[in-house]
Subunit: 376 residues, 2 copies
């Protein structure tokens, strides 16, 4: 197990190098590496540099030895990922009423499995949920936009799929994806911020995903940015998400763009403001100030090293990024703002899928009971 994860993280690497670094005998390493190779999880790959004698054969993770299914409920997508979190196949989840929703999810997962070839080996399912979840119980506690409350999603799926099933809030999952396959290797403290139809943050603190006492940490979308602002369904007032959600932005467009042009949607807004459209920029300035206000609060409370942006409104949006950076540098305590780097996340529009997949992959790597997954 130790050796497997060592090869996975640092391969390609030679058996003798492994033995040296782990302080194990070459025989032990060879026996274990051979075991994993026999079952397809490690593979040989070319030769390394010689330190005298013949060149050593290198081993590395066999990326297609196993697969996970990743579901991003926010984007209504399910995908198959290999052991390196590469997306192999994607399907969209159909619109389904509240009742039919879980059933249609099960159907999509089933078709993904059926479509896959004979070498498909399902190791786990990860699900990114736009709401508050309990990872322990596998329960969606609340997902307001989906009208879900206290749904035992893991239990429902477990009836059909006999692999580990991991649920997490979507911004938390995306933070996890950045941790494993994005910027996580560079810093111990970062925040992943999703800015799209919803606004939420995943907190990676001191090297771990931080989910709080009730599993809900990171609700940046529900902090007040407009004092005495309109009441939000969360209970609070003038919440960031409420002030910059799609309907609020359409209203601002209506108010500020008087040439009769119709509201172009989130991605249209992003494109227009970046190409210099005055009205779109005015809307984006509004978004930038409120987001900036939320970020200064976040920075003063959490003092992260990176803030990684994702979501339809923040991706490929240099205009907004520049506004936010300016706001943060002007309004926050200098030692905090000097220290924080604000940029796009590495997983970009696949943040939810890679995040959900990361949950399942990480679980598999941590609890490697290979016997269960080795085909007869």
């Amino acid at each position: 197990m130790l050796i497997f994860n060592d090869v996975r993280e640092r391969g390609p690497i030679s058996r003798s190098q492994l033995a040296k670094e782990l302080g194990l005998s070459p025989t032990t390493v060879t026996v274990i590496v051979d075991y994993f190779m026999e079952h397809g999880f490690l593979m040989e790959t070319g030769k390394g540099d010689s330190s005298g004698g013949r060149k050593p054969i290198l081993v590395k993770l066999a990326p297609d030895a196993g697969h996970v299914i990743a579901v991003d409920l926010n984007q209504s997508r399910a995908a198959i990922l290999n052991l390196e979190a590469e997306i192999l196949r994607v399907r969209h989840l159909p619109d389904a009423g509240k009742e039919g929703w879980v059933r249609s999810l099960i159907q999509v997962i089933n078709s993904l499995i059926l479509e896959s070839g004979a070498d498909f080996r399902l190791l786990g399912i990860g699900i990114a949920v736009p709401g508050i979840v309990s990872l322990d119980k596998g329960e969606v506690i609340t997902a307001t936009n989906f009208n879900i409350n206290h749904l035992s999603l893991k239990e429902e799926l477990q009836k059909h799929f006999h692999v580990p099933i991991l649920l997490e809030n979507d911004a938390n999952a995306a933070a996890y994806g950045e941790y494993l396959y994005g910027y996580g290797k560079q810093v111990a403290n970062f925040v992943y911020l999703h800015v799209g139809k919803a606004v939420g943050a995943g907190l990676f603190l001191a090297g771990n995903l931080f989910t709080g006492g009730a599993g809900g940490a990171g609700e940046l979308g529900h902090i007040t940015v407009v004092e005495d602002g309109p009441k939000c369904r969360c209970g609070n007032q003038g919440c960031l998400e409420l002030m910059i959600n799609e309907s609020a932005l359409a209203d601002k467009w209506q108010e500020w763009v008087t040439d009769g042009a119709i509201y172009p949607g989130l991605s249209g807004l992003v494109q227009l403001s970046n190409s210099g459209h005055g009205g779109a920029q005015r809307v984006m300035n509004y978004v930038g100030s409120l987001l900036g206000r939320g970020l200064v609060t976040l920075i003063h409370l959490i003092n992260p090293s990176f803030i990684l942006l994702g979501g339809e409104l923040a991706l490929s949006n240099p205009y907004l990024l520049q506004r936010i950076k300016k706001y943060v540098s002007e309004q926050s305590i200098p030692i905090f703002s000097r220290h924080v780097e604000i940029k796009e996340g590495m997983t970009r529009s696949n943040a939810g899928i890679i995040g959900a997949g990361s949950l399942a992959l990480h679980y598999f790597f941590e609890h490697l009971h290979l016997e269960k997954y080795i085909r007869a």
Copy 2:
């Protein structure tokens, strides 16, 4: 070391019980316990229940075998604490100009040592600083109320005192004190909130003090609670600390209490509002709304299990506590507000001293090089 901390945390305990719980031989335990007893750090104390045979002798920490000096710069106090964080002796730090400040601190520490008896054994010095510090470098990065910037305080003190010297932000130190000697044993996620002349929070997350990327996490005093409010010296606007600091409250008193009564100071305000004085209650309602707003933000971002209150404005203030609780229960996401308990910290007005002492005690217990501290 393992055995010492085991006895410290779970004593009084018998040698045989220790051996059983740690899976060590009774002889090993006896040799090590005797070593610590010989040097005064453990002591025998009565007899436990017998499980047949004669009653076992119990051992426990000898609380006065060693001492730390704790400095709370916010309250201008220095104290000697024993190994159980009991305060044995306190001295006030004299007012001193910016230049004389460090010298007068050294003098006070020196007199505390000189006044102590022959059995005084200094193990470390902990200092709670109202500002942002670097624990690693032992540097005060910035303490605005003290006009300090980039002061190598540890280095200065280390010239005079050859024991470990630990610096920490005062709210962080207080959180540490609650962790070790207050409510910390009950929860993994809590926030210590100091509300006095300054406002700041210490974050204890997932069982560890969280200080952020640049050592500054928890600046709840510098989040915006009044949109477009006055500019704060931190760079931000309408900051919580700025809106409810002493001069802001004196202004509110002036405005709202028109019977000519002069502003009674923070503790006067607390007393008056609790005894039903209308004007004082109006000021306290104002404090409660702004604090409540800050706390809802904190709760939505961090989702703590406890919020522990301290500081002149929050201690012994049931009136304010009730206002805050009401605000939080009305304005936050139900699963968050149901989950969080808001109450006074256990270390009360000694939070800074016990916090600073905790830093030094914890360091000693973790790095127990007893040889250095054993007297000839």
